[in-house]
């Protein structure tokens, strides 16, 4: 029976310090800046530090621990080779201002990666700077502004998005100064064309969409949507977080999207690192190229890689050229997969998802609103469990933890009640999918109390998240 490792691990400042000789007084620092207080960081021995973080690591669940079907997050296995290569001195230890002749390898990788992503998405140009998906969205919104402003179309200050949109979409749009208009989905869980038609106007700057959407449903009317949006003079933005569903099967560029971001830390198997570093490259159609951030990476006839300037560029969105090691890992991943591998990845991601979906629905314990055919993820509802047994999606999630299984995303998208959003990805085996379904089904029959008391095989029992927010304690100092 599964049990997580449990250590009663002290905080770093609760260890016995190894006192070291105090440093020498130093001369020359301006008086007003001389440090008076000691630095409140404990002085420990390497042994203590190593064990501390070793213990902490064992109390953390990652993809290498097992299935991690967080919907919308594409938590797939991260090939070890990518990690190994990214740590090579010749990559990791290069300075962003080094003479360009000494970093031709880095530039080649970025140059080629841009082109690979173009081919994959059907876009014309890419910018690798953004550090995450949301960062890419912000860049996309700024490009949208630049585009309309360049055309002197100053009234377009609205961004439309469906109610299934990920939280970062509206947040990025407002951050870039746009007004938001959220439109409800139709009974199939997709964009309601009539409502969209009515909402589009000469104030519309952009329509943001992910396809398949966050229910895992492919927006089959996408060509129609594209036509409508463009007719209204607006741009169509693609949130590429769901790209894992369609690699080598269809391309956002061909669907009519003008701007998109990808999440390399999702689709391209670069690890998520417990919250980053990530990478959210932005692709655009040719009409938006001129606005892309600088520097642009070019290649001379002689095959020398160079940085190009761009006079109409919006400037920069992140220091230097993006999270290079993440780019490098994605590049390696694409090389290892090739067309065949990427296509099969999407195919099996979709197969695994539909397989799980069917098995779960066959059990009749959970319901699934909206259309049947799903892409790489699907959303089921625990509403019936809640009505009948006062058991919530959260309870189900916590109970999964007792089996060493990471729960799905819960309570998203918002339009599904008591939602469990499941994205198995292609790197899970049938055996593990079966086990997951079995467990979900078994859980549904357990005593409500068992679920409400879950988890218990974890380092801590159910965590009180409310207190953490009501009475925030964020540092050692705030503890006392």
């Amino acid at each position: 029976m599964y049990h997580s490792a449990v250590y009663d691990e002290p905080l770093l400042n609760e260890f016995t310090e190894v006192k070291k000789e105090k440093t020498l007084r130093i001369e020359g620092i301006p008086k007003s800046l001389q440090r008076i207080k000691e630095i409140g960081i404990p002085n420990l021995d390497e042994t203590q530090v190593a064990r501390h973080f070793h213990h902490l690591s064992q109390m953390n669940y990652g993809v290498d621990n097992g299935i991690y079907p967080l919907g919308s997050c594409t938590m797939k296995y991260n090939p070890k080779l990518c990690e190994q290569i990214a740590s090579w001195d010749k990559f990791a230890n290069t300075h962003p201002y080094q003479d360009i002749s000494t970093v031709q390898g880095n530039l080649q990788i970025m140059f080629e990666l841009e082109r690979m992503l173009c081919e994959l998405t059907g876009m014309d140009y890419f910018c690798l700077q953004p550090a995450a998906g949301a960062h890419g969205e912000l860049l996309g919104m700024l490009l949208t502004r630049a585009y309309h402003e360049h055309r002197k179309d100053f009234e377009r200050n609205e961004v439309i998005l469906p109610d299934t949109a990920h939280g970062t979409n509206p947040a990025s749009a407002t951050m870039a100064g746009f007004k938001l208009i959220e439109i409800p989905s139709n009974k199939d869980g997709t964009v309601d064309l009539d409502i969209l038609e009515k909402t589009l106007s000469d104030k519309t700057a952009c329509f943001m969409l992910t396809n398949p959407n966050t229910l895992g449903i492919f927006e089959s009317d996408i060509l129609e949507i594209s036509k409508m949006v463009h007719k209204a003079g607006a741009l169509l933005y693609y949130d590429g977080a769901n790209m894992n569903a369609i690699m080598g099967k269809a391309r956002p560029g061909d669907m009519g999207f003008d701007i998109l971001h990808l999440n390399l830390h999702k689709t391209f198997s670069t690890p998520h690192g417990g919250g980053g570093p990530g990478s959210g490259p932005v692709g655009v159609k040719i009409k938006l190229e001129r606005f892309l951030p600088v520097p642009r990476i070019g290649r001379t006839r002689e095959g020398v890689y160079i940085f190009d300037d761009a006079p109409e560029s919006i400037g920069k969105i992140k220091d230097f050229y993006g999270n290079f090691s993440v780019l490098l890992k994605a590049y390696i991943y694409i090389l290892m997969m090739g067309d065949e591998g990427l296509r099969e990845a999407s195919e099996v991601a979709v197969l695994n998802s539909n397989y799980m979906k069917k098995k779960i629905l066959d059990s009749k314990k959970y319901d699934m609103p909206y259309k049947q055919l799903r892409k790489h993820e699907f959303v089921i509802s625990c509403e019936r469990l809640k009505q009948e047994k006062q058991v919530t999606a959260k309870d189900v999630a916590k109970r999964l933890l007792d089996h060493g299984l990471h729960p799905p995303t819960i309570y998203f998208p918002l339009i599904v009640k008591e939602a469990l959003m499941i994205e198995p990805t292609e790197t899970e085996s049938k055996k593990d999918l079966d086990k997951y379904v079995e467990t979900l089904v078994k859980i549904a029959d357990e005593k409500p109390e068992t679920l409400r008391n879950a988890p218990s095989n974890t380092p801590v029992k159910r965590v009180d998240e409310v207190t953490a927010t009501k009475n925030p304690v964020l540092t050692w100092k705030m503890m006392s």
């Binding site: 400042n13 130093i26 300075h95 269809a250 998240e465 964020l474």
Partner: protein
């Protein structure tokens, strides 16, 4: 090896779905846009791991690392020593293959480490609270400006003229939404410090915040911090300070001179230069602005049995809950880099950091002296510097660098591009990694090439 364990079970699984072929799963995609394959530059068949490694080795060999090349670049990024333990911890799969800790019970390890990161950043900066990271130092400046706007509801933000152009550009892009005006204050041409007189003239009722860097982009310490703080506070604005965290080992934490927000680039705390990636946006502030902080924060709490536990706190500020009204759109941050910083700082300890900081300062003074002793080279500013400084060169610095490169030395950062009036100047940087012999090698090379 394509990382697809069900490769051979496809037919079996399709059968269970009552389907014949994989493409039956894709019938919802309109025919017109379905494609059969991807083309060049994506290889049609993937490379084996062995082939991949060989190819990448060839590409890597087109680079020179800062171990191949003696590097004296300033400009924010510098090579720093990374103790082996950092790599050995951040390469633990439980950490690097995890997602954002949405399920605290399965993520206590990362959460506690982030709590400790926040605590150490708070200690270092003298602030009450810190978040669990932003993308980088430059976007942290953008977020700081946006926070000032939210708090003060005013619309002008003041920065020194001498910050990197890239940071300026990023800031401008970040504040485009609310339409904040960014105003620049020139620096004193003699000292290289911010010109306080000019600052006074720029600050007004609309000023929501004033940003300074300490040390600044020229490597010079801004020691008039108390005066600056007075100017800022008189205008009811917020005082935002950008730091090099290594310098805080020997200098006053900005909290001690009443800064409201402290930001900085934390890559130097245990992360590789990574060609400008592996960045870490530090963000710390006073407790009173807690609910306006951008990004994730980890808080202390209890589990059902009263045992100490950690979880993400104040999520109601964030996009996944507050959506369009979030304090920021940030979701994925730089978690693993923050973890590296936590390991780095706890390995070093407070005294270790003080030592490291002192060594950087001393190397900075030493290199400056040595270069000044060469005919024709001159330290441009009189202000005390940390481990970077601007040097006026006797000949075109671009030429100098080209010649140094032939000697396998990467010289300082040529400033002409970012600051046209400093066309004949270079920004040299030095750290604990540069030995006395390294410095000698640079100095004699500089003599040879001028």
């Amino acid at each position: 090896m394509k990382f697809i364990p069900n490769s051979s079970l496809k037919q079996e699984m399709l059968k269970e779905l009552g389907l014949k072929q994989i493409d039956d799963l894709f019938i919802d995609i309109p025919k017109e846009i379905r494609i059969d394959n991807l083309e060049s530059p994506i290889p049609s068949k993937g490379l084996s791991q062995q082939e991949t490694e060989r190819l990448l080795r060839e590409i890597a060999n087109k680079n020179k690392s800062c171990n191949d090349l003696l590097c004296f670049l300033g400009g924010g990024v510098k090579p720093h020593y990374i103790p082996a333990i950092v790599k050995s911890i951040v390469s633990r799969a439980e950490f690097y293959t995890a997602y954002t800790p949405y399920q605290p019970e399965a993520s206590q390890g990362f959460l506690q480490a982030m709590f400790e990161y926040q605590s150490m950043i708070a200690e270092l900066t003298g602030m009450d609270v810190a978040n669990a990271s932003l993308y980088d130092g430059a976007t942290a400046l953008g977020e700081a400006a946006l926070m000032c706007a939210r708090i003060t509801k005013k619309n002008s933000f003041i920065i020194p003229k001498n910050i990197s152009h890239s940071k300026k550009s990023i800031l401008n892009n970040y504040v485009k939404g609310p339409g904040v005006k960014v105003k620049e204050v020139d620096y004193d041409k003699k000292t290289g410090k911010i010109d306080i007189k000019k600052l006074r003239t720029v600050v007004d009722d609309n000023t929501m915040g004033v940003y300074i860097e300490n040390p600044n982009f020229f490597g010079v310490f801004e020691d008039d911090v108390n005066e600056i703080n007075d100017v800022v506070k008189d205008a009811n604005a917020l005082f935002v300070v950008g730091v090099d965290p290594i310098s805080l080992g020997i200098t006053k934490p900005p909290g001690d001179y009443n800064a409201d927000v402290v930001i900085g680039e934390g890559r130097c705390l245990g992360n590789p230069m990574d060609y400008g990636g592996s960045s870490l946006g530090i963000f710390a502030c006073k407790k009173e602005y807690l609910r306006q902080i951008p990004g994730r924060v980890v808080g202390l709490t209890k589990d059902k049995d009263g045992k100490r536990a950690f979880c993400m706190a104040l999520q109601t500020r964030e996009q996944h809950i507050r959506r369009g009204r979030a304090t920021s759109n940030i979701c994925t941050n730089e978690g693993l880099n923050a973890l590296a910083a936590a390991v780095f700082l706890s390995w070093l300890g407070g005294i270790g950091l003080e030592n490291l900081s002192r060594i950087n300062f001393e190397k900075g003074q030493k290199l400056a002296e040595e270069i000044e002793s060469i005919n024709g080279f001159e330290k441009l500013f009189s202000g005390v510097h940390f481990n970077e400084f601007v040097v006026k060169c006797p000949i075109d610095p671009v030429k100098i660098n080209q010649k140094l490169l032939k000697r396998n030395i990467q010289g300082g950062l040529v400033l002409g591009e970012q600051f046209p009036h400093l066309r004949n100047c270079m920004l040299f940087g030095v750290t604990e990694l540069h030995s006395d012999e390294d410095i000698k090698r640079l100095v004699s090379a500089l003599k040879e090439v001028t």
